[in-house]
Amino acid sequence: MTGDSSARIAFDDVHVGFGRGGKRVEVIDGVSFDVRPGEFVSVLGPSGCGKSTLLNVAAGFLAPDAGEVRFDGERVTRPDSRRGVVFQQYAIFPWLTVEKNIAFGLTLKRNRRSRAETQESVRRYIELMGLEGFEKSPPKQLSGGMRQRVALARAYATDPDVLLLDEPFAALDAQTREFMQELLHEASQAERRAAMLITHSVEEAIYLSHRIVVLGNRPTRVHEVVDVDVPWPRSPESRLQPEFLELRGHLEGVMRSLSGSAFRKAHP
């Protein structure tokens, strides 16, 4: 039971499984942790352990079989624009230009703004994400990194209280990835919104987070929670600081042993 009532997102003994009868597979087996206002939390875990499933429950795309996710104290039952989502597969709408993608949420009845406010918001996030000059471009002309910046801008634009990010940079090359991490860090510095980032990358998790939740193998539970003591705000030099390196060594060891034990289980 997570008792902290100040939590923005609270996972409370969440259980999820797929399939029925003999084919049933338990994926999430009682996960509890919090994301507090303004806090950046990363969720690390071996591949296939249920990270996306967990995020889908928090977003309201999927109902848990037991337990619940609370958002500002209220049980999550459906998607809501106060919880912005960014997906791994650039889910920007290909039929809309960059600026129309970013404005999309603000033109819906749920969070309609005046024209001026919408324009102001779009301009602000175009700038924050370094998309100047591409306002009228169709997504097919953009690189992967730029598409993901559009997706981030679109998620920010509706002014969500928490961002849910599902391996947003996994499909990018190493260099773009680092650049995007820095961009996201600066943006979350400027925005101070709570965020939950799903990632495979230890480096990414440390660079961006206040706290890291490590999930175990499927059926998954929280394996470990670590506070990241690397001084804030982070900069490219942070990656070389002793605290950073020490934590990286530790987490890489944990990840190795987790995927090692999964491998041994699968190939005895």
Binding site: F61, G84, Q89
Partner: protein, 254 residues
């Protein structure tokens, strides 16, 4: 290279086939009477120049196909969306739709004659039938396949059901609508001859049948060529509009 590929090669393809045809006709290796391309083109030209000739047939047939496709697609659009949106409806009607789609329209014409008579409505009904069943399947499969990720993105941004439908599902389906229209056009042209079997007054299908009954082979060929030509032109027209309307679509270049 790609420009060359797009402009020259299609004509080269026609040239190869016409050359092969010409060889077959002049050498007579099939042992059957085959008119040469020259004879067929001459017959077509003759027919086109004649007052009240092939031009009238082309106009009538094109009009029939256009009406058939327009009405067929106007019906399949709402039905396609309904079937895609409500899985229960789809489970219920998918088999019967595929059953109807598989029926050759020519087999229906006797029934059409019995119930609708032999007027223009009868011919149009056959075409509408063909266009509807061909396009509705393409449509609802396309709509049902709208990537879940766009639906989720729309919902997470705060879209209501109606907004999701209008602003995500519909635009995401536009490419599929064009495919549906093209399929309907193809099927309607294929069905034309069957439709014009119903006591037609003129039309390209009608010319083919009449020429055949007088053993004017080159006119049969001319009619067939004209049908192919009209169908091709219409398809090109739709593709032109499609290229503009869905220019956002990413094409995999091979």
């Amino acid at each position: 290279m790609t420009a060359l590929r797009r402009t020259v090669l299609p004509f080269a393809g026609f040239a190869v086939v016409i050359a092969a045809w010409w060889l077959t006709a002049t050498t007579g290796i099939t042992g059957k009477e085959v008119p040469t391309p020259g004879e067929v083109f001459a017959a077509a030209w003759e027919g086109l120049r004649e007052p009240e000739g092939l031009l009238v047939d082309i106009r009538l047939s094109v009009l029939r196909v256009l009406i058939g496709v327009a009405v067929g697609c106007a019906l399949s659009l709402p039905v396609g969306f309904a079937l895609a949106w409500f899985p229960t409806l789809r489970a219920m009607f998918d088999p019967i739709i595929n059953f109807c789609r598989a029926l050759p329209p020519i087999a229906l014409s006797p029934l059409v004659i019995i119930y609708v008579g032999i007027g223009e409505e009868a011919r149009l009904l056959v075409l509408v039938w063909a266009a509807f069943f061909a396009s509705v399947v393409v449509l609802y499969e396309g709509i049902a396949a709208v990537e879940d990720i766009y639906v989720r993105a729309g919902r997470a941004l705060g879209a209501s059901d109606l907004e999701l439908f209008r602003r995500v599902i519909v635009p995401a389906t536009v490419p599929q609508m064009f495919v549906a229209v093209r399929v309907a056009l193809g099927v309607s042209w294929a069905t034309l001859v069957a439709a014009e079997l119903i006591a037609a007054q003129r039309g390209l299908g009608w010319t083919i049948q009449r020429s055949a009954s007088f053993f004017r082979t080159e006119e049969v060929y001319a009619g067939i060529l004209l049908i192919g030509f009209c169908a091709l032109l219409m398809d090109m027209g739709v593709r032109l509009v499609q290229a503009r309307a869905v220019s956002w679509q990413e094409r995999v270049v091979r």
